[in-house]
């Protein structure tokens, strides 16, 4: 895809054999030299007319993160709020929630969002972090290429090709919160046309505390195994086959409602999730320099918890063709088919008329990048979707870019949609139940009813961006946006009625309507300062102002205004003190969340890495070191309110 891009500001080849002068080598030596991978498309971020940020493998290692959600804290414009040990609320440019639905997350081209609620289960998005090449975060709509749900952003997690993960790697982690973690990988194939790797990973993370000192029940055990095969079948054909199998078990405290006394009870809810996926991607270069990519995957997921039991099968087929250059036009077009089917066992809390839901999505996109003049380029494109709920949808986009010497500027306008989820359209959810009113003998329930009238949420976003390599050492990236939202999901209560099932009860029905509109304004600034070979400093600041307007009486209309921080900033220092000793420090500031009564907080992380031998690395990592605990996304009154505490752990990594 066009916006895959990498290593925004200055690719670094820190691992290279610094002592070798490439100009002193013979052609034979150079052709047999092994390429140390810096990011594969190190140049393309600079060229992308979009707000792109890349978290490299080195960034993740240096930040000492042990999970994908935690890595995302490094990026500007991304809201990462940890709910408890295994749960996160993550969004880009606002509208954050545990069920955030305006963000698209892909792992090597596989979509991770669940059509049930159009969001991501972060507790099962994992891989061997050492095998991740980079995480690319595109802020703003990416819908014209990636389709629905890429409303406010796209996160692309890209793992390394098998050729870059040869040999053994082992790492172990142990500490107070990261109780134990083991990752093992082996890759082989050498110089042959086909290379492969396999990995296995398991961890155990301890439960946190509630602010009152109790156990929050979110202890977490998970394992995962996977493989990847990359084959250079001919000079023009490449094949990738990869797959994953995993299991995760965690828990949370939950206020469970029922129609009989005592109506609500605080229970431990165990969440068991498992799944497997298999992806095949074939890339063929045609004789006239076009590139044909065919990708298909099968994804099986299962999730069992007190409130929900879901089995899902997703099949996806994607065909893309990058046309050979036609004069000043670079055209890409593609078609895609997705079939998804689930089987949901009804519970007291969640039920629908049918237990099986099948959905089909057919979509196509076309994009043309036109060189208007040597420095000017215009990209226009659109995605066309045909889905079962809202029919035919168009999501167009236009981007203009100007490239100067060591600087570039861009402007864009795009329309994107969040199509209804199964939860919006087909499910009946018991939100709360209570004892009878004094004048009645019937219990009271509040239920979210299926809303077949609910249509897609819509956004129109205008963006401006500017990048500049100010000096050799200092680079800057600025993006500004203005988004206009319409038809946002609104929980609208209807008149109370008498519930029909025995036992009889008074029902306050709520339906989901498209009655909220509003706007968001903001921007992000990134500064990257590489003082010298061994010292780097980076700064990111994000600003966000959401203002929404819903009908009076609606429950959640303006809630999103206070669920994402208005200001966020981070400052990171990377210092290679000696050949063997590296020190990293990072400070994160996150503004208050008024809707959840969460105060602003400062988080400080520290890593000291020591290379014991050329192949063995020891890290001591402290996260949230100056703070006993803070809350990131749960209100003090929440039954499952969890405190995010200090985490200190050691990590031993062996790369023979």
């Amino acid at each position: 895809m066009v916006f895959t891009a990498s290593a925004l500001l200055g690719a670094q080849a820190a691992l290279a054999d610094e002592t070798v002068d490439p100009f002193a080598l013979t052609p034979e030596q150079l052709f047999s030299a092994e390429v140390i991978s810096v990011s594969r498309s190190a140049e393309s971020v600079w060229e992308s007319p979009a707000a792109v940020f890349v978290i490299t493998a080195a960034d993740m290692e240096r930040a000492g993160v042990t999970s994908i959600p935690e890595a995302l804290r490094l990026a500007p414009g991304v809201q990462v709020a940890r709910i408890n040990t295994s749960g996160w609320a993550i969004s880009v440019r606002g509208f954050n929630s545990a069920l955030a639905n305006k963000l698209l997350v892909l792992v090597d081209g596989r979509e991770t969002y669940d059509p049930l609620f159009s969001g991501v289960y972060w507790d099962v998005q994992d891989t061997a972090l050492e095998d991740i090449d980079r995480i690319e975060i595109v802020r703003g709509p990416g819908a014209s290429l990636w389709g629905a749900n890429a409303v406010n952003g796209v996160i692309n997690i890209i793992t390394r090709r098998a050729e870059d993960t040869q040999g053994w790697l082992a790492s172990v982690v142990s500490g107070n919160a990261e109780e134990a973690g083991v990752t093992l990988r082996y890759g082989a194939g050498g110089d042959a046309a086909t290379q492969w790797r396999v990995f296995g990973r398991a961890y155990e993370r301890g439960a946190g505390e509630t602010p009152s000192g109790g156990d929050d029940n979110s202890d977490w055990r998970a394992w995962r195994g996977g493989f990847r095969v990359d084959s250079e079948m001919s000079a023009d054909d490449r094949l990738t086959v990869q797959g994953d199998i995993y299991q995760s078990e965690t828990g949370q405290l939950r206020l469970v409602s029922s129609l009989t006394a005592p109506f609500t009870a605080l229970e431990r809810e165990t969440i068991e999730a498992e799944g497997a996926n298999l992806l095949v991607r074939w890339t063929h270069e045609t004789d006239n320099d076009g590139v044909l990519t065919v990708q298909s995957y099968l994804d099986l997921t299962a999730r069992d918890q007190r409130t929900l039991s879901d089995r899902r099968t997703t099949f996806d087929l994607d065909v893309q063709y990058d046309f050979p250059s036609l004069g000043s036009h670079e055209i890409i077009a593609g078609v895609r088919y997705r079939y998804s089917s689930d089987d949901i066992t009804p519970t007291e809390i969640i039920r629908s008329e049918t237990t099986t839901h099948r959905s089909e999505l057919l979509s196509a996109f076309v994009q043309d990048q036109i060189t208007l003049a040597p420095a000017w380029r215009l990209t226009v494109g659109s995605k066309f979707d045909q889905n079962d709920y809202t029919g035919f949808e168009v999501q167009p986009n236009a981007r203009l870019q100007w490239s100067g010497e060591r600087q570039m500027a861009w402007a864009s306008v795009s329309r994107a949609l969040r199509s209804p989820s199964e939860l919006d359209r087909e499910f009946d959810i018991l939100l709360a139940a209570g004892p009878p009113f004094p004048m009645s003998t019937l219990p009271l329930t509040i239920e979210l009813l299926p809303s077949p009238e609910f249509e897609s949420e819509e956004v129109l976003t205008y963006e401006l961006g500017y990048r500049r390599q100010i000096t050799r050492a200092l680079a800057m990236d600025v993006a500004l946006f203005h988004s206009e939202y319409d038809g946002l999901a609104t929980l609208t209560p209807l008149a109370p009625q008498l519930g029909s099932d025995p036992p009889r009860f008074i029902l306050i029905p709520i339906v989901t309507t498209n009655d909220t509109r509003g706007e968001a304004n903001g921007g992000e600034v990134v500064l990257d300062w590489r003082l010298n070979e061994s010292l780097g400093l980076s700064f990111a600041y994000s600003s966000l102002d959401i203002s929404l307007d819903g009908p009076p009486g609606a429950i959640n209309a303006e809630l999103a205004e206070g669920q994402s921080p208005a200001n966020q900033a981070n400052l990171r220092l990377q210092w290679d003190a000696t050949d063997r000793l590296a020190v990293d420090a990072a400070v994160y500031y996150v503004d208050e969340l008024p809707a959840l009564a969460i105060e602003s907080y400062v988080r400080a992380d520290l890593r000291i890495g020591y290379r014991l031998t050329d192949r063995l690395q020891l890290d001591v990592i402290g996260q949230n070191v100056f703070d006993d605990w803070h809350r990131e996304f749960t209100a003090p009154g929440d039954a499952n309110a969890a405190a995010i505490g200090r985490s200190v752990f050691g990590r031993l990594t062996w790369r023979p």
């Binding site: 054999d17 490439p22 100009f23 030299a33 991978s37 110089d191």
Partner: protein, 181 residues
């Protein structure tokens, strides 16, 4: 699990010690930009130009478009090859390309390549790029990457048309391609 963690850590330390003892470095490991920069230097060394141009003894290496070498070519400036001093230039205008001995066309300028190619005509400018299809579209040398090695495709016809002769030492290591009709 804690126990497992400790055991695994011990195993890693033990195996690592053995591994270190019998490890040996086989080939050089370099950043892709360094390998390509080194190869550019060798292209100058193993290509024969018809006659030293009017600009005298200097071998002018030009980059057209965004510099994919992250500035590494600068250190080639001032070196000599076949008794001629190398001078590295970043081109602002395609019109200046005629004065180059070697012209590197950045992938982001690929849409300008057909125009540039006809502008250069039969002038002795060795053209190099790293985007796929460059050699087949009349470019002379194209970097490729197969697995974790850098290779080249050479379009001998295109070089000969410009009176350049690429020596066998390079050709032996290259894949020869022709201009696509």
């Amino acid at each position: 699990m804690r126990c497992l963690s400790a055991l695994a850590a011990l195993a890693i330390v033990a195996v690592s010690a053995v591994g270190d003892a019998c490890a040996q470095q086989t080939s050089v490991r370099l950043a892709e930009q360094d390998i390509k920069a080194g190869l550019l230097y060798n292209f100058l060394r193993y290509t024969e130009w018809p006659q030293p141009t009017a600009s005298g003894a200097a071998m002018v290496v030009c980059i057209y478009g965004r510099d994919p070498f992250s500035g590494r070519l600068a250190s080639m400036s001032g070196r000599t090859v076949n008794q001629r001093t190398i001078e590295v230039r970043v081109l602002r205008e395609a019109a200046q390309a005629n004065a180059c001995s070697l012209l590197f066309v950045s992938a982001d300028e690929r849409s300008n390549w057909p125009r540039l190619r006809s502008q250069l005509g039969e002038r002795g400018v060795l053209t190099v790029s790293d985007y796929d299809g460059f050699a087949r579209s009349g470019g002379m040398i194209e970097f490729t990457r197969i697995n974790n090695r850098i290779g080249v495709r050479v379009n001998i016809e295109a070089a000969e048309a410009a009176n350049l002769s690429v020596q066998d030492r390079l050709l032996r290591l290259a894949r020869v391609v022709r201009t696509a009709p």
